[in-house]
């Protein structure tokens, strides 16, 4: 199997989508001539022209609103918001317009737009360039949210998002951009709403997404050395999320830990845990634990950020706790 970088998988997905559907356009700051701040759109202007790969001024709010209008008028816009922290500027367009247009217009038309945006820390990018805000979007009826953890799903989820008739927020983890993994010869869309069990195990379930999936895998490795077999579930989609796969795993392991890089309080993990504390209650042999970022802004200094980010150690400790 060939190896592919996460960022190249995104690039490939964009290229294939542009190729497959003439109504797809890309929009964003420096996405065209410069190929994107992180290089996700490199080479696409040369292949598809500046008419479809469009550089924009720094006008996030208007661009997101324009994506809604364009989607209602026959295009499939894919908007890049350079850092997820800047989605603070596009909430109205996404939440009050994109998410609701289909519903509030009586189902007359769908809003096929995609917002791609990187979240996450680890680069000492500081408090305004590192946040994981996906829980906001998952709380909004009408939006879908996905977050790939590896190149194959980065490709597949983005293709599925662009093909989807409804607005999808594709959250990329910027610390993963440079990572590589093996991918199938032929890359395929990954259906939205389906989780993957990426490591089977009988003793406890680790549910995660994005960068934290790798933290979980590392933790599972450490635990295996102690004879503990952790099952690792990569959610891939956060809204809708794959309740059945999580429930299925829980009913075999009877122990659940949810892990993510986002702030723990009121994060994605809260919903997973709350749901399992309802429908999974009878299967639970231990408290549901969460491992997420502490309740503070993402600090700049390396020393602080290292302690801030959820670690494999923290997951291991949580695992020991639910097994105690």
């Amino acid at each position: 199997m060939p190896e592919l970088r996460y960022i190249r998988a995104i690039n490939q997905a964009l290229a294939d989508a542009l190729e497959a559907d003439p109504s797809v356009i890309l929009l964003g700051e420096d996405v065209s001539a410069a190929g994107g701040a992180f290089g996700a759109t490199r080479g696409l202007r040369d292949r598809f022209g500046a008419e479809r790969v469009i550089d924009t001024p720094i006008s996030e709010a208007a661009l997101a609103g324009a994506a809604v209008g364009a989607a209602l008028s026959g295009l499939k816009p894919v908007l890049e918001i350079m850092f997820m922290d800047f989605t603070t500027l596009v909430m109205d367009a996404l939440v009050n317009q994109a998410a609701k247009a289909r519903f509030m217009f009586g189902g007359q038309r769908s809003v096929p737009l995609v917002v791609r945006t990187p979240h996450g820390g680890g680069l000492s990018a500081g408090p305004q360039h590192s946040q994981c805000l996906e829980a906001w979007f998952a709380h909004v009826p009408g939006l879908k949210v996905v977050c790939p953890a590896d190149p194959a799903s980065a490709y597949g989820l983005l293709r599925a998002a662009i093909a989807d008739p409804d607005p999808v927020i594709v959250v990329e983890n910027k610390a993963l951009y440079a990572t590589k993994a093996e991918v199938p010869e032929v890359l395929e869309p990954v259906p939205i709403g389906h989780a993957a069990v990426i490591r089977p195990g009988r003793d406890l379930t680790l549910v995660s997404y994005g960068g934290a999936v790798h933290t979980c895998m590392a933790a599972a490795g450490i635990l295996a050395n102690e004879g503990i077999e952790a099952e690792v579930v990569d959610l891939r989609s956060l809204q809708p999320w794959d309740e059945a796969t999580v429930m299925n795993s829980l009913s075999r392991t009877h122990r659940l830990i949810v892990v993510h890089e986002a702030v723990e309080a009121f994060g994605i993990g809260a919903e997973i845990a709350a749901r399992m504390a309802d429908i999974g209650f009878d299967e639970l042999d231990a408290p549901i634990l969460r491992v997420g970022a502490p309740f503070m802004p993402v600090p700049f200094s390396k020393a602080l950020e290292r302690k801030y980010l959820p670690s494999a150690d923290a997951v291991v400790q949580a695992a020991r706790k639910v097994l105690a």
């Binding site: 109504s23 356009i25 008419e51 479809r52 924009t56 001024p57 006008s59 709010a61 208007a62 661009l63 997101a64 609103g65 324009a66 994506a67 809604v68 209008g69 364009a70 989607a71 209602l72 008028s73 026959g74 295009l75 816009p77 109205d92 367009a93 009050n96 317009q97 247009a101 289909r102 519903f103 509030m104 217009f105 009586g106 189902g107 007359q108 038309r109 769908s110 009826p141 009408g142 879908k144 093909a163 989807d164 008739p165 409804d166």
Partner: protein, 327 residues
């Protein structure tokens, strides 16, 4: 059409403009009564006194052109051709409403005629119309998009972003400011420090002002400016008009000088249009027939709406996303 249009406006054209305005007026007056009687849920913003703007602008548009509207959007919807049945049923919250009772007054929309929705967020329609214009341009349609917005929306930063983007991309986008002098309960003069006439040229965008209560003026200027937008790119049309009712129904307007309110009658767009018709020797009888006809249509739509059914909850909920079989 050119500006000689005004002189040349014939009887039929004039009657059409008048009828379109009268339809909006009578629809909204009827709505006002329905609201007072408790038949319309929520709150509604009537555009009584402003009908010449949607009618004049829409007279210059084709069916393929798209519009994005505001919280005060009934006039835009009806002038663009939204069927009365679907309109009233929507305002009464029925399944038969164009939005199946989910949006109401502030979200009336009819995508099939390019009406991209009224909007509860001041200014939001600006960027939606911008995107629609981008689609027209990239898909090489001959269509244009129109963004309606009020003078209160001049305070929103989105206006600046959209003017710049429209100019940058030479989009087929017409900005139409309905300047009625009010932003809710305050004169917008106490909020806005610039005149659009001064601001817009900075972006390299042409600006045209119109008496917004004279439908002949609006339609004439709209015809010119729409032709420009279709050919060359964005433009701004500012229509100075009058909000003759409260911000929303039930607003007693204590903040308004009674003398100002009284003086509005002279600027009533329907009255001004009637004056044109009189000069064209259109008899009172024809106008009376028109009114009767309009009122009949309205009563039929109201009756149909009243006979409408309550929307089904599960159907509505399911429509939050596109059904899988439509993927």
């Amino acid at each position: 059409m050119t500006s000689s249009h005004r002189a040349a406006l014939g009887e039929n054209q004039m009657l059409k403009l008048y009828a379109d305005m009268l339809l909006i007026r009578r629809v909204e007056e009827r709505l006002g009564r329905l609201f007072a009687d408790g038949e319309v849920p929520g709150f509604i913003h009537l555009s009584i006194g402003q009908e010449a703007v949607p009618v004049g602008v829409m007279s210059a548009l084709t069916a393929d052109d798209t519009i994005a509207s505001t919280h005060r959007g009934h006039g835009h919807a009806i002038a663009k051709g939204m069927p009365l049945d679907g309109f009233f049923a929507e305002l009464l919250g029925c399944e038969q409403g164009l939005c199946r009772g989910r949006g109401g007054s502030m979200h009336v929309a009819d995508l099939s005629i390019g009406m991209l929705g009224a909007n509860g967020i001041v200014g939001a329609g600006l960027s939606i119309a911008l995107g629609s214009a981008l689609a027209h341009q990239r898909l090489r349609r001959n269509a244009i998009a129109v963004a309606f917005f009020g003078d209160g929306a001049l305070g929103e930063g989105l206006l600046h972003e959209c003017l710049n983007l429209a100019s940058l991309w030479r989009l087929p986008l017409l900005f139409v400011c309905e300047n009625n002098g009010w932003s809710e309960f305050s004169p917008s003069a106490g909020q806005i420090t610039f005149r659009l006439a001064d601001l817009v040229p900075a972006y390299g965008i042409p600006y045209v002002a119109s008496d917004g209560n004279d439908v002949v003026a609006v339609s004439t200027k709209a015809a010119d400016i729409v032709a420009h937008v279709r050919r060359e790119g964005p433009a701004v049309l500012e229509c100075f008009t009058t909000r003759m009712r409260g911000h929303y129904e039930g607003d007693a307007q204590k903040y308004r000088d009674p003398a100002e309110l009284e003086a509005l009658a002279a600027r009533d767009p329907i009255r001004i249009a009637k004056e044109y018709l009189r000069r064209l020797d259109v008899g009172e009888e024809r106008l009376q027939d028109l009114l009767t006809d309009i009122d009949c249509r309205i009563e039929a739509a109201v009756a149909a709406a009243r006979a409408g059914s309550a929307p089904d909850f599960e159907t509505a909920k399911a429509d939050t996303y596109t059904p899988v079989d439509l993927h």
